[in-house]
């Protein structure tokens, strides 16, 4: 049971929900940029929600399946095609032995996730299968995927067996088969302007009053100098009321820090564990998947919410995911 990488495309790497517990040793978390998409991609095919997936960035990735395989594709719509035919997202898909899955162009979003029933058979390093690209650790040989790589996966789970059997029965001569139902994904939006909800950051009050106003009133653009480590934004330059010394301290996914040049940086999956720049805001956890799907050149605005509201949104999303889990367990037998 394996996948062969025909072309890696712009960037493809193995990621799970991240490497936690080692930040006090300076080991970064890594993991899927869009953790919501990763979780759903696993749940759709009966995996534990934190199994590793292939994170595909924008386009060019092409994968060949060496056995009949039950997979799911979620995240951004990067126009996935199997043997030239469009594949639906956010639902289980049975792909026929020898078929090639290609990501051709972004219709919406920036990153897609490919999971396989049973999960990838890749060793855990520090309790995670995520690739720490700069450190050369974890994932597949500590690096992004390259042409010719063969990624083994484990035997499919019991939970996915009925679905596999039904899809296989209906496959006939087609290169893939899927189902009518899907999990709706609201967060990958194809609008020109997005509003990202944030909580005021630890040093918000240290910024000048005009910078504090501009932060919430003006647009910021994602610059090309953006990657899994962080998104650099351009827009109004944010200035401190007066300079001050800040001791290095932990940062989190979604921390928005402002270096001396005044251009904010959103810290993301491959962020350093600690930072010493003033933090103007912290993105609400539920909006991190939205940010993860933004492409360079796109524009965002920030909207302030309270910490309490952010917590409510978090708990609500977790409830929604639990409902999805229940729903999926009932759908196991239906197409």
């Amino acid at each position: 049971m394996s996948i062969k990488v025909i072309r890696p495309g712009l960037l493809a790497s193995i990621q799970d929900l991240g490497r936690y517990g080692f930040q006090k040793y300076g080991v970064i978390v890594s993991g899927a940029m869009d953790s919501y998409a990763l979780r759903i991609a696993n749940l759709l095919i009966g995996n534990q929600e934190g199994e590793a997936a292939i994170e595909v960035t924008l386009m060019g990735t092409s994968l060949q399946f060496e056995e009949d395989s039950l997979i799911a594709i979620t995240g951004g719509n990067l126009s996935p095609k199997i043997e030239g035919e469009a594949v639906p997202l956010w639902r289980p898909v049975l792909i026929k032995k020898g078929s090639i899955l290609q990501f051709t162009a972004s219709q919406s979003g920036c990153r897609a996730y490919v999971t396989v029933a049973g999960g990838f058979d890749i060793p855990q390093i520090m309790e995670s299968k995520s690739t720490y690209l700069r450190g050369g650790i974890g994932g597949f040989k500590g690096r992004s995927l390259q042409a010719g790589d063969v990624l083994p996966f484990q035997e499919k789970t019991k939970a996915s067996a009925p679905l596999f059997a039904r899809l296989k029965q209906n496959l006939k001569n087609r290169s893939f088969g899927s189902v009518e139902w899907y999990v709706p994904a609201g967060h990958v939006m194809n609008t020109s302007e997005r509003v990202i909800r944030v909580i005021k950051g630890m040093e918000f009050d240290k910024f000048s009053s005009s910078s504090r106003e501009q932060f919430f009133e003006q647009e910021f653009q994602i610059t090309p100098q953006s990657d899994r480590m962080g998104y650099r934004l351009s827009g109004p330059e944010l200035q401190l009321e007066q300079p001050f010394e800040l001791l290095s301290e932990a940062v989190a996914e979604g921390t928005i820090q402002v270096p001396k040049d005044g251009n904010p940086i959103i810290l993301l999956a491959d962020r350093q564990t600690t930072g010493g720049y003033p933090r103007i805001a912290q993105i609400s956890s539920v909006d991190l998947p939205v940010v993860a799907q933004l492409k360079p050149g796109e524009k965002i605005r920030f909207k302030e919410i309270t910490r309490e509201e952010s917590e409510r949104l978090y708990l609500k999303r977790e409830q929604d995911i639990e409902e999805i889990k229940t729903g999926l367990s009932l759908k196991k037998w239906s197409l």
Partner: protein, 248 residues
């Protein structure tokens, strides 16, 4: 917002870092009293964490505690509709109150062998010139100090060390090097440190260690931890090469 006095004269603050972490702040500057509290809380959480605890990250004057808000809420909300932040902050307050700073406790001392100067320490002469002394004196001062590991950050296994003698403090290079070799020992201002991985940087390089500070296949993956004391031990080029051979 929970803000109250701790047992000592310093105010302890609990601040949210978003919706899934709380920063326990023990002070606003670098000193050994604050450091001992940081260390005590970190150790405590390693052995007595709570349901929903993910990990904690000690820094110069704070410990950031990451948690899963859903598990915290379900495990500890006693029907009073408290938020996950309030629940964790309250637990941290209770833990901090009971923290015992063991003044007698001996920190772990880690000796790091360093081959000073030559090709391994291309800036040693510059550091000597800048401080009007010989390179031997720089080596003597650097290797006779005891350095406290305040925190690990910036890169895997990279220690922020306190305790560099003012006598050999040297400003950063005006133009940073594109790549600093693994194991380089450097000085930047009044800080000294060791590079566990190869990265760009502007530090003055005075030597190199054959010891691996970052070992991803080990648990823990870092040679050093917050609270350790580092001593640098001078070695010759021969000893450096032998050390490398025996560890490979």
């Amino acid at each position: 917002m929970i803000q109250r006095m701790g047992l000592t004269e310093n105010k302890i603050e609990m601040k949210p870092l978003g919706d899934s972490a709380v920063v326990v702040k023990f002070g606003t500057d670098i000193n050994s009293v604050v450091h001992r509290k940081v260390k005590a809380l970190t150790l405590k959480l390693q052995h007595h964490s709570f349901k929903g605890f993910i990990e904690c990250v000690p820094a110069f004057a704070s410990v950031t505690v990451f948690y899963n808000p859903l598990i915290v809420k379900r495990s500890y909300d006693t029907g009073k509709n408290k938020s996950p932040f309030d629940i964790v902050s309250f637990m941290m307050e209770e833990i901090v109150k009971e923290l015992v700073e063991d003044q007698e406790e001996n920190p772990r001392i880690v000796e790091i062998p360093v081959c000073y100067g030559g090709e391994y320490g291309p800036d040693l002469q510059f550091v000597a010139d800048e401080n009007h002394m010989s390179i031997e004196e720089v080596i003597k001062i650097h290797s006779s100090g005891e350095y406290l590991v305040y925190m690990i950050g910036f890169a895997p296994g990279f220690p922020y060390l306190g305790g560099l003698s003012e006598k050999i403090a040297t400003p950063r290079r005006s133009s940073p090097r594109v790549s600093i070799p693994v194991g380089s020992v450097g000085i930047a201002g009044n800080q000294t440190g060791v590079y566990p991985i190869s990265t760009p940087g502007g530090w003055q390089l005075i030597g190199r260690t054959p010891a691996a500070l970052f070992q991803p296949e080990h648990n823990p993956p870092s040679l050093l931890a917050s609270g350790d004391v580092v001593k640098f031990v001078p070695i010759t080029v021969d000893e450096y090469e032998k050390y490398q051979e025996t560890t490979q």
